[in-house]
C-alpha cells in the first residue's frame, strides 16, 4: 500500500493509514449497500419511494438512523450473561475487519500480501459464528437461543460448499494469494483470446453459483435468514439487543455483505484489474501506477454488482425451513461443488 505514496512514511504512520483504510474499506461498502440497496432499491421494487425527507433524496437517512440508535439506552436483560452479551456484537464485527485485511484493491494497494490469503479469509469469516452463538446463548431468551443455534448449524453447513467452491478457483489459479489470483485472471486468456483476460466466472461458473448461494447463507440473508426470521423468532439472536450494540450487529451484517462481495469479485470477476492486454502490461510490475486509484473504484463497482444480486434475491424470495436448508447444503451444493473440483482438476492436468 505504501509504495504508491511518493513520500517516506514512518512505521506508525503506515499503521495508522492501514487502520484508517481498513475502517473506510469496511464502513463505506456497508453504508453504500444499506442506502442504495436496502433503502432505495428495495423501495423501488416494492413500488414505494423509500426515505425522501432526510437530506436530498433521503441521502442522509443513514446518518439519521445511526444517530437514532446511538441515542438509545444500552439495555442488558437481567438474566443475561452481561459480559458475553456485551462482547458478542464486537466479535461479529471483528471477523469483518479481519476479512478485509487480505483483499487487494490495486497493484500496490493492499493491507497485507498474504501467501495463503483465501485460506485465512475463509478461516476468519467463520469467527462470526462465535459471536452469534454468544449473543444467542447469553441473551437468556428462548427466541435468541433458537436463532443462535439455527445460525450455528447453518453457518457451519454452508462453510463447506463455500470452501469447496473456492478450491476450483485455487486449482485454476495455482495460488492461494488473492493478489496472484487477480493477476492470473487479468493476464490470462481464453482460447488464445486475451481481450477479456480470463475471469473465472466463465470457467468456474458452477463454482461461482455455489459460492454466491453459500455467501447468501453465510450472510443470513433471505432465503437463508432462518436465524433472524422475524416472523417466527422476533429477531433471532438480536432480539434482546438495543441501541449501540444493535447498531454494531446491523453494521456487521452489511459490512460482511460488502466484504464477501469484494472477495467474490476478487475470486471470480477479476478483482481490481482490467485485462492486462488492453494496455500491453505483462505482469504486475508493469501495471501503471494509476491503477492504484482506479483499482479501488473498479472494486467498488464490482462489489455493488455482486451485492445487487445478493439483495435482489433477498427481497424476492421466501425463506427455507431449517431442515430444507440443511438438506440443500448437503445434498445439492456439496456434491455439485465436489464434481466441479473433479472436473477442474481433470482439465488442469489435461490442458
Amino acid at each position: 500500500m505504501m509504495s504508491m505514496l511518493a513520500v517516506e512514511v514512518p512505521y506508525w504512520g503506515q499503521s495508522l493509514l492501514r487502520v484508517l483504510g481498513g475502517i473506510v474499506a469496511v464502513l463505506l461498502p456497508a453504508g453504500t449497500i444499506v442506502y442504495v440497496f436496502l433503502f432505495k432499491m428495495m423501495s423501488f421494487m416494492q413500488s414505494r419511494l423509500g426515505p425522501m425527507e432526510a437530506g436530498p433524496y433521503g441521502s442522509l437517512q443513514l446518518v439519521a438512523e445511526v444517530g437514532k440508535w446511538l441515542q438509545k439506552e444500552d439495555i442488558v436483560p437481567e438474566r443475561a450473561d452481561a459480559r458475553i452479551f456485551k462482547m458478542a456484537p464486537i466479535v461479529v464485527l471483528l471477523s469483518t475487519f479481519l476479512l478485509i485485511a487480505v483483499v487487494p484493491f490495486g497493484p500496490d494497494a493492499w493491507f497485507t500480501d498474504f501467501e495463503v490469503g483465501i485460506f485465512y479469509a475463509l478461516a476468519v469469516s467463520s469467527l462470526s459464528v462465535l459471536g452469534i452463538l454468544m449473543a444467542g446463548w447469553s441473551s437468556a431468551n428462548k427466541y435468541s437461543l433458537l436463532g443462535g443455534l439455527r445460525a450455528a448449524g447453518q453457518l457451519i453447513a454452508y462453510e463447506l460448499p463455500m470452501v469447496l467452491a473456492v478450491i476450483g478457483v485455487i486449482i485454476q489459479a495455482g495460488t492461494m494469494n488473492l493478489q496472484q489470483i487477480v493477476i492470473a485472471q487479468n493476464s490470462g486468456s481464453m482460447f488464445g483470446f486475451s481481450g477479456l483476460g480470463n475471469p473465472y466466472v466463465i470457467t468456474q461458473f458452477v463454482g461461482f453459483v455455489v459460492f454466491m448461494i453459500a455467501i447468501q447463507a453465510e450472510l443470513t440473508q433471505a432465503p437463508f435468514d432462518m436465524p433472524i426470521a422475524e416472523s417466527e423468532l422476533v429477531s433471532g439472536y438480536m432480539t434482546e439487543y438495543s441501541g449501540f450494540r444493535f447498531l454494531i450487529f446491523f453494521i456487521g451484517e452489511f459490512a460482511t455483505a460488502g466484504v464477501f462481495s469484494l472477495i467474490a469479485s476478487v475470486l471470480f470477476l477479476g478483482g481490481w484489474g482490467v485485462p492486462f492486454a488492453w494496455f500491453g502490461w505483462t505482469d504486475v510490475d508493469s501495471v501503471a501506477n494509476w491503477m492504484n486509484i482506479v483499482g479501488p473504484i473498479i472494486m467498488i463497482t464490482k462489489m455493488m454488482l455482486v451485492a445487487f444480486i445478493i439483495m435482489w434475491v433477498r427481497f424476492s424470495y421466501p425463506r427455507f425451513r431449517e431442515d430444507q436448508l440443511q438438506r440443500f447444503a448437503w445434498k445439492v451444493l456439496i456434491p455439485v461443488s465436489l464434481a466441479n473440483i473433479a472436473l477442474t482438476s481433470i482439465f488442469k492436468v489435461v490442458m
Binding site: M42, M45, Q46, S47, R48, K142, L146, R150, A222, P223, D225, M226, A229, E230, S231, E232, L233, V234, F315, S316, Y317, P318, R319, F320, R321, E322, D323, Q324
Partner: protein, 394 residues
C-alpha cells in the same frame, strides 16, 4: 380408523410419528427436557394478540395450543344494549379487514324477523360491496402470506392494490374500514356518479395483482416446498372441527353458502365457480383463496353490468321495532361462515345475539394441525388457516 390410516401427506405422517417418539422421550424423562415456547400475545407473526403455547422438542412441536381471548370486546353483550341500527357499527369491527361483510348477515337476520326484503337494486349493491370487502380482505392475506415466510415484497403489492378497493368502498359508503352502510330494508345511499366505471378499472387491476402474486409467490419453489404437504387437514377432520370457507374447500369439500344457501342477495345473478382443492395442505388453502379473489372480481364485474334501477330502501318505519321471534342467518364471509342468531322480544334492540365467526372455529383445528411440525411451520400453517384476531375474540 386410526389416524395414520388416513390419507396424509408423507411429511405430515413422518412428522406425526416423530412427534409420538418425541412425546415418549419426554414422558420417560430421559435425555433432554422439552421447552415451552410462548409465541405471543405480542409477537410479530400473530398479527394481533393470539398466544400460541408450543411445547417443543428441539425445533419440533410436541403439542401446541392457541390461547385466545386477549382481545375480547364483548360484542354479543354490547349488542343487547344497542338498538338494531346501532349494532352494525359494532359488528363492523369483528373482521376488520372485510367490515361490510360483517354487517350483512345481521341486517339480513333483522330483515327476516321483520319480514321485509331489500329492493333488487339494494340487493345488488349489497352483493357488490360484500364481494369488494372480500377482495380487500383476501388480497391482504395473499400479501401477508409472503411476509410470514420471509418474502417482504408481496405485502407491499397487496397494500398498494388493496388501497384501490378501499377507495372504492370509501367512495360508495364514506368509510374505508368501517362503512356502517347497511340498513334494515336497504342501504344508506345510492352509488355515486362514475363509481361503476371506476370499479371496473379496479377489478382489472386486481386481476393483474392476482397474476402477479401467482408469479411471485405461488410459482416459487421455496414457497411450494414450505407449503405443499404441510399442515394437511383431511376432509373428515375439517368437517369435524367445523371449518368453513376456503379452509374447508381446500380440504375437498364443495361447500359455499353463497351458492347453497338461498338469501335475498344477488350471487345467483352472476356466473361464477366454487373452487376446491383435494390436498388440504397449506398450499391448497392459499391457492383456493387466490382463485376466490379472481372469482370475486368476476362476480363484481357481472353484477355491475346488471344493476337494476329502482329504490334502494324498502318501506320500513322510522323507529325500528323488530317483532318477537328468533332468526339465524349466515353468509359466506371472507374468512368463512359467519352467522348471527338474533333473539328479539319486540323491543328497540335485540334481546340476545349469538355471533358465529369463522376464525374461532378455523383456529380450533390448530392443535391438530400443528402436532409434529417444525417451528417455522407453525407460522405458515396459522397463516394459511387465515384468522383475524377480532374475528376470533369478538
Amino acid at each position: 380408523m386410526s389416524l395414520t390410516d388416513r390419507v396424509l401427506g408423507d411429511r405430515q405422517r413422518l412428522a406425526y410419528i416423530a412427534s409420538q417418539a418425541a412425546d415418549a422421550r419426554l414422558n420417560v424423562e430421559l435425555e433432554t427436557e422439552g421447552m415451552t415456547l410462548n409465541i405471543g400475545p405480542q409477537h410479530p407473526a400473530t398479527h394481533g394478540t393470539l398466544r400460541i403455547i408450543a411445547r417443543l422438542d428441539g425445533e419440533q412441536v410436541v403439542w401446541a395450543e392457541p390461547s385466545c381471548g386477549y382481545m375480547h370486546r364483548g360484542y354479543e353483550k354490547l349488542a343487547e344494549v344497542r338498538t338494531y341500527p346501532q349494532v352494525t357499527s359494532l359488528v363492523n369491527r369483528i373482521d376488520w379487514l372485510g367490515s361490510f361483510a360483517n354487517e350483512v348477515p345481521f341486517i339480513l337476520a333483522a330483515e327476516k324477523l321483520m319480514e321485509v326484503e331489500a329492493p333488487p337494486r339494494a340487493q345488488h349493491i349489497r352483493t357488490i360491496l360484500f364481494e369488494l370487502s372480500r377482495i380487500a380482505n383476501v388480497s391482504l392475506f395473499l400479501g401477508d402470506l409472503g411476509v410470514q415466510m420471509g418474502a417482504i415484497t408481496p405485502v407491499f403489492f397487496a397494500f398498494r392494490d388493496r388501497e384501490y378497493v378501499l377507495n372504492l368502498i370509501e367512495g360508495a359508503t364514506g368509510g374505508r374500514f368501517h362503512p356502517n352502510f347497511d340498513r334494515i330494508g336497504g342501504l344508506k345511499d345510492d352509488l355515486p356518479k362514475g363509481w361503476i366505471a371506476e370499479t371496473k378499472a379496479v377489478m382489472k387491476k386486481l386481476r393483474n395483482f392476482c397474476d402477479q402474486i401467482e408469479d411471485l409467490l405461488f410459482g416459487n419453489e421455496i414457497f411450494q416446498s414450505r407449503t405443499r404437504g404441510i399442515g394437511v387437514i383431511p376432509r373428515d377432520i375439517a368437517l369435524q372441527y367445523g371449518l368453513s370457507g376456503a379452509n374447508l374447500r381446500a380440504s375437498g369439500v364443495d361447500w359455499d353458502l353463497r351458492r347453497d344457501h338461498p338469501l335475498p342477495m344477488a350471487w345467483n345473478k352472476a356466473d361464477w365457480k366454487v373452487w376446491t382443492h383435494p390436498d388440504g395442505d397449506s398450499f391448497a388453502r392459499c391457492w383456493v383463496r387466490l382463485q376466490e379473489t379472481r372469482e370475486s372480481t368476476r362476480i363484481v364485474d357481472q353484477l355491475l353490468d346488471t344493476i337494476p334501477s329502482g329504490p334502494i330502501m324498502a318501506k320500513v318505519p322510522k323507529i325500528i321495532k323488530v317483532p318477537e321471534g328468533e332468526a339465524w342467518v349466515s353468509t359466506e364471509n371472507p374468512l368463512g361462515e359467519m352467522g348471527y342468531y338474533v333473539v328479539s322480544r319486540g323491543e328497540l334492540g335485540p334481546f340476545r345475539v349469538k355471533i358465529r365467526s369463522a376464525s374461532f372455529n378455523n383456529i380450533s383445528v390448530a392443535p391438530w394441525a400443528l402436532r409434529g411440525v417444525y417451528v417455522p411451520d407453525i407460522i405458515t400453517i396459522l397463516a394459511s388457516l387465515y384468522f383475524i384476531l377480532g374475528d376470533i375474540d369478538r
